[in-house]
């Protein structure tokens, strides 16, 4: 009996310490959470396609890294411990490796088991586009509509990771400068498949040589095309310069290919 009581007393003491430790952890997490909220609103992270809003993302993401694994160009990385509570969650550093839609159909979103990358909007957009394209078509086999392609394009265009915007001070086009050569140097490792999505493989950026009278790499290399970014003359003086449109998905290929030392086009993550 005496032994049992000691056991119970020990349990109460260690249990109390444990509860205290948990409370400290809880307060710490809550503190980080609150002090982090400002950062969250600034949205330093560009999340993978289909990410639900940042706050929900944090409590849904189980940090398994399946999205990291499935990405064919390895654009997705896991955040390190210095990111505080975001440790282990996926993000895309577009300057190093942009999401170039090499997988065609949002594989990172499809693979996510906890649905913090939510596939439903993509599925719906794809189906709607196919329905629209095939409306009135009697025999699909005889028409030149490829529903698979239609679906892929629609899903791609539904992505809203962020929105690109041009930094005029450094942009070569804004200074009426051209560009000749390899845009990010011989050692740059980034790969992409854009702009022609019918190419089977993504190729290294360092293998591509450009020669432009006025630099327009961000426009020509965009995987989405003229819905996202156009190269057009400014009304005021007829200067050609890139203009980002509403269709921009925030994939960041433009940021990756931008030849200036600091990117002259950046992707602002979407605000939730």
């Amino acid at each position: 009996m005496a032994k049992k009581q000691i056991g119970r007393r020990e349990f109460l003491i260690s249990g109390g310490v444990a509860v205290g430790a948990l409370a400290v952890v809880g307060v710490g997490v809550k503190y980080l959470d609150i002090s982090h909220t400002g950062k969250q609103l600034r949205q330093d992270f560009l999340r993978p396609p289909g990410a639900i809003n940042e706050i929900e993302f944090m409590y849904g993401c189980i940090k398994c890294g399946l999205c990291v694994q499935i990405c064919p160009v390895q654009a997705i990385k896991l955040a390190g411990a210095h990111e505080g509570l975001s440790y282990g969650t996926p993000y895309i550093d577009v300057r190093e490796q942009a999401c170039d839609f090499s997988c065609d159909a949002m594989q990172c979103v499809e693979t996510c088991p906890s649905a913090v990358l939510n596939f439903i909007p993509f599925k719906e957009a794809g189906l709607a586009a196919v329905e629209k394209a095939t409306a009135g078509v009697v025999n699909l086999r005889n028409s030149d509509i490829n529903p698979f392609e239609v679906q892929k394009v629609a899903m791609k265009e539904t992505v809203r990771m962020g929105k690109a915007h041009v930094i005029k001070d450094t942009c070569l086009a804004h200074q009426r400068k051209g560009f000749k050569g390899i845009s990010r140097g011989k050692d740059f490792e980034g790969i992409y498949r854009a702009p022609d999505s019918k190419v089977a493989w993504a190729t290294p950026l360092k293998d591509k040589e450009f020669d432009r009278e006025i630099c327009n790499l961000c426009v020509t290399e965009c995987p989405i095309g003229e819905k996202a970014i156009v190269f057009e003359p400014r009304k005021r003086d007829g200067k050609m310069r890139p203009r980002v449109l509403e269709g921009c998905t925030g994939c960041g290929v433009c940021v990756m290919v931008c030849p200036t030392e600091k990117p002259s086009i950046v992707v602002e993550p979407v605000k939730s």
Binding site: F11, S14, L22, D33, I62, L66, L78, S114
Partner: protein
């Protein structure tokens, strides 16, 4: 029948200790000490287990490194040749946080399939079997434990042990924290997930936490994380309550040397090996047992064996 299997027999009056002539070493005609040490260098199950553990964890690493679709993801959530598997405590936390926010409806079918599959799989294999046969942190801790034992033996440090119920405090505590903070709090501290991710996706600063926990286990309390904290292990031990695969103890072959309890990660599961404690001729280990096989290797009389409960006659 199932209820009978669940009973440990702990509440029954103990059997009388065996007299000297019935002890296994007298039957063999050798000295007691000689008998105890007869299997000291046998490491059959340990080697098999380590090989399996390293193989499975390497499979994760290789699948990512060479882009193979064999075992993708990490121990927090993975896909085995396309089939999803979820860490159960992670899943519980997601359920806990999502129950208050309504996020629960968004969880994918893969989430539910993964959770069910993994629960069934480890249920048949014994629940906490996950710990000793899969968990990379267990592997680290098992090896650093030797350092701890050495320090204790040299009297450089004192052994500190706690009440085994402590892990339920942590288990509920982390779930409550998940609900209160709306974050998967445990996943930030989870040395299992951290070790797994570090192996697969490359190391980071967070590894200092793992080293810190290991150091605490070495200098203060033996296997502190595994025994008293880890809610993943606790979840598995709840899952394994009725598991068929377990370890069988035969009193007739036992020499009361308690070597098995010394090597055991969860010595309270081997309560029946002590002289005069066993209440039945045959005992089975309970759900905290990790089925690591260390006791099987060390036992001089082969009194402990793997078994599938309820299938004794068939096997």
């Amino acid at each position: 029948m199932a209820f009978d299997l669940l009973k440990s027999g702990k509440n029954k009056p103990p059997l009388k200790p065996k007299p000297m002539e019935e002890m296994p070493h007298t039957k063999l005609g050798i000295k007691y000490k000689e008998w105890c040490n007869s299997h000291k260098t046998r490491h059959k199950w340990r080697n098999i287990r380590w090989a399996a553990l390293i193989f499975m964890n390497l499979l994760f690493v290789v699948s990512f490194a060479f882009d193979l679709s064999i075992l993708e993801g990490s121990l927090s959530g993975s896909r085995l040749i396309g089939f999803y598997l979820m860490d159960p405590f992670n899943a519980l936390q997601v359920l806990a946080t999502s129950s208050t926010t309504g996020y629960i409806v968004h969880l994918t079918m893969n989430f539910w399939i993964g959770l069910t599959t993994i629960l069934l799989f480890w249920f048949f294999l014994g629940g906490r079997t996950y710990c000793s046969w899969m968990c990379p942190y267990h592997f680290l801790a098992e090896n650093t434990e030797k350092l701890h034992n050495y320090f204790v033996k040299k009297k450089m440090i004192k052994e500190h042990s706690f009440h085994i119920g402590l892990r339920f405090v942590f288990w509920f505590g982390f779930l409550i924290l998940a609900v209160v903070t709306q974050q998967l709090v445990f996943e930030d501290l989870n040395v299992v997930g951290i070790t797994s991710r570090a192996m697969i996706y490359g190391p980071g600063l967070i590894l200092f936490w793992v080293v810190g926990v290991l150091l605490f286990e070495i200098v203060y309390s033996k296997r502190f994380w595994c025994r008293y904290v880890c809610p993943i292990g606790t979840t598995w031990s709840l899952v394994g309550k009725l598991s068929p695969l377990t370890i069988r103890f035969e009193l007739d072959k036992c020499g009361y040397c308690r070597d098995c309890q010394d090597v055991c990660l969860v010595p309270h599961e081997l309560w029946f090996v002590q002289r005069g404690k066993a209440t039945q001729k045959v005992h089975y280990t309970g759900s905290d047992c990790t089925r690591c096989g260390l006791c099987i290797d060390t036992c001089g009389g082969n009194a402990l064996t793997y078994t599938i409960k309820g299938w004794g006659a068939v096997l």
